[in-house]
C-alpha cells in the first residue's frame, strides 16, 4: 500500500487529450444546454399549469396534481428516466434517447416547479384577487394578468436554483446514451484512459455552465420584473 501511495505521488497529470478532443467537450456541453433549456421551458409551463390547477382547480384535479408531485419528488430521476426509456419501449413506444431524456426531465422539473409556483401563487394577497373580481375579470384573466407574474417574482430565486440543479442532474441522461456532456466524457475517458483528468475537465465545464445559467436567470429576472423591488418585500 505504501509503495502504491508513493506511486500516486508521482502521478503525472496529463491533459494532452484536450488538444484534439476539446471540440467534443464543446459539442457535449452544447447538447446539455439544448436538452436542459427545452426541458426547463416545457417543465416550467407544465409546472405553472399544474400549480394553478393545484390552487384553483376542483377537488379531483387538485388531488391528481398532488399525487403527480409527490410521486415524482419521492423517486429518483434515474429510475424515472429508465421507466420512460426502457419501460415505454417495452410497451411498444420506442422513443429516441434524447427524446426520452427530455420527456423524463420535463416530468421531473414540472413537479418541482408545481410545488415552487404553488407557494408563489398562495403568497399573493386576497385583496389582489378581490380587486380583480371588482374589475370584472374572469378567473382566467385574474390568474394570467394579476397572479402569475408577481407569484413568479416571489419564488424566482427558488425556481432558478431548481433549474440549475436540473441542468446538473441532466448528466444522468448519459445512462440512456443521450450524447450530452457526461456521455462525451465517458467515451473520451475510455479512449484515453485519462479518467481522472477527463472528469476534472467535465466538472469545470459543468461549473462554468452553472455560472452561465445563474447569470442567465439573473438577466431574465432583471428583464421580467421591471419594478426593481427588493425580493421578499410585500407585494
Amino acid at each position: 500500500m505504501v509503495r502504491e501511495a508513493q506511486g500516486a505521488m508521482a502521478y503525472k497529470f496529463d491533459f494532452s487529450f484536450l488538444a484534439d478532443r476539446w471540440p467534443a467537450f464543446l459539442e457535449g456541453a452544447w447538447l446539455t444546454i439544448q436538452l436542459t433549456v427545452v426541458a426547463i421551458v416545457l417543465g416550467f409551463v407544465v409546472g405553472t399549469v399544474c400549480a394553478v390547477l393545484r390552487v384553483y382547480g376542483g377537488g379531483v384535479l387538485r388531488r391528481l396534481v398532488g399525487a403527480y408531485v409527490e410521486m415524482i419528488r419521492n423517486t429518483p430521476l434515474l429510475v424515472q428516466i429508465f421507466i420512460v426509456y426502457f419501460g415505454l419501449a417495452s410497451l411498444g413506444l420506442k422513443l429516441g434517447a434524447e427524446l426520452s431524456a427530455i420527456i423524463a426531465l420535463v416530468i421531473n422539473v414540472g413537479a418541482y416547479t408545481t410545488e415552487i409556483m404553488r407557494a408563489g401563487i398562495e403568497s399573493i394577497g386576497r385583496t389582489q384577487l378581490e380587486a380583480a373580481d371588482c374589475l370584472g375579470l374572469t378567473r382566467f384573466q385574474t390568474v394570467v394578468h394579476i397572479v402569475l407574474l408577481p407569484a413568479m417574482e416571489r419564488v424566482f430565486p427558488a425556481l432558478s436554483s431548481q433549474f440549475v440543479l436540473l441542468m446538473l442532474a441532466s448528466s444522468v441522461t448519459s445512462q440512456i446514451s443521450a450524447e450530452e456532456l457526461t456521455a462525451v466524457a465517458n467515451v473520451i475517458q475510455s479512449d484515453t484512459y485519462r479518467s481522472f483528468e477527463v472528469y476534472i475537465v467535465v466538472a469545470v465545464v459543468y461549473l462554468a455552465l452553472s455560472f452561465l445559467y445563474r447569470f442567465g436567470f439573473w438577466l431574465i429576472g432583471q428583464l421580467l420584473f421591471v419594478r426593481r423591488r427588493r425580493l421578499g418585500t410585500a407585494i
Binding site: 419521492n74 430521476l77 421507466i83 419501460g87 448528466s171 444522468v172 448519459s174 472528469y199 461549473l207
Partner: protein, 215 residues
C-alpha cells in the same frame, strides 16, 4: 424468459437495505462535513469563510455523477483498491456536506442577533455561545429542512448504481436483465423509493408546521 416473481421482489427489497446503508453513510459523513462548513460560513475569519464558500460553490455547481466518477477513479489513482461502496460513500459525503452546510448556515443565521448579544453580555466565550445558546436553537430550526433534504440523499444514492454498486436501482437493472419487463421492474423500484422517501417528506412537513405553531 423469467417472470417477475416474488424471488425478484425479495431480491429488490434486500437491495433496498444497501440504499438505506449508503444513505446513512452519506448523512453521517455529510453531517460532520456540513457542520464544519456551516461554522466556517459564519466564522469571523475571512479565510475560513472564503474556503467554505468556495467549497460549497464548487460542489453545488458540479453534478453528483461527475463527483462520483472523480472519487471512483481518483481513489484508484491514489493507489487504493476500487471499491464502489467507498467511492459512492465518499462522493455522497462531499455532496451532502455542501448542501447541509448551506442549509445549516441559514439555520444558524436565523437565530436572532439578540441571542448573540445577550450571551456576549453574560461573558460567554465564542465556543460557549455556540454550544449553549446558538446551536441548540439552530438545531430546532434545522430539523425540518434537514429531514426534507434526507429525501434528496436517498434518491441520489441511486447514482451509485452507475459505478456498479448493487443498491436498489442496480438491483432493478439486474432483475430487468433477466425478466425483460422494465416497465414493471422499474415501477416497482420506484415504489420502494417512494415508500422510503414519502414518510420523510411528510415528517418534514409536519415538523415545519410544528415549528411555525411554536412561534
Amino acid at each position: 424468459m423469467n417472470q417477475f416473481t416474488s424471488v425478484h421482489v425479495f431480491y429488490l427489497l434486500q437491495a433496498a437495505r444497501w440504499t438505506l446503508l449508503l444513505s446513512l453513510i452519506a448523512l453521517m459523513g455529510g453531517g460532520v462535513l456540513g457542520l464544519v462548513l456551516a461554522l466556517g460560513r459564519v466564522s469571523r475569519s475571512r479565510i475560513l469563510r472564503g474556503l467554505a464558500t468556495t467549497y460549497i460553490q464548487v460542489v453545488q455547481g458540479t453534478p453528483l455523477l461527475v463527483l462520483l466518477f472523480l472519487s471512483y477513479f481518483g481513489l484508484s489513482l491514489a493507489g487504493y483498491r476500487l471499491d464502489p461502496l467507498i467511492a459512492a460513500g465518499l462522493s455522497l459525503t462531499f455532496y451532502v456536506g455542501a448542501f447541509l452546510g448551506e442549509i445549516w448556515r441559514g439555520c444558524i443565521e436565523a437565530v436572532p442577533r439578540t441571542q448573540w448579544e445577550a450571551s456576549d453580555c453574560l461573558g460567554l466565550s465564542r465556543f460557549q455561545q455556540y454550544t449553549h445558546v446558538i446551536l441548540p436553537q439552530a438545531v430546532r430550526i434545522a430539523t425540518a429542512p434537514t429531514v426534507g433534504f434526507m429525501v434528496q440523499v436517498v434518491k441520489n444514492t441511486s447514482l451509485a448504481s452507475i459505478i456498479g454498486f448493487v443498491e436498489l436501482t442496480r438491483a432493478g437493472q439486474i432483475v430487468n436483465n433477466s425478466t425483460f419487463q422494465p416497465f414493471l421492474v422499474f415501477l416497482f423500484v420506484a415504489a420502494i423509493y417512494f415508500a422510503i422517501c414519502y414518510p420523510l417528506s411528510v415528517a418534514s412537513r409536519i415538523l415545519e408546521r410544528r415549528l411555525h405553531v411554536a412561534r
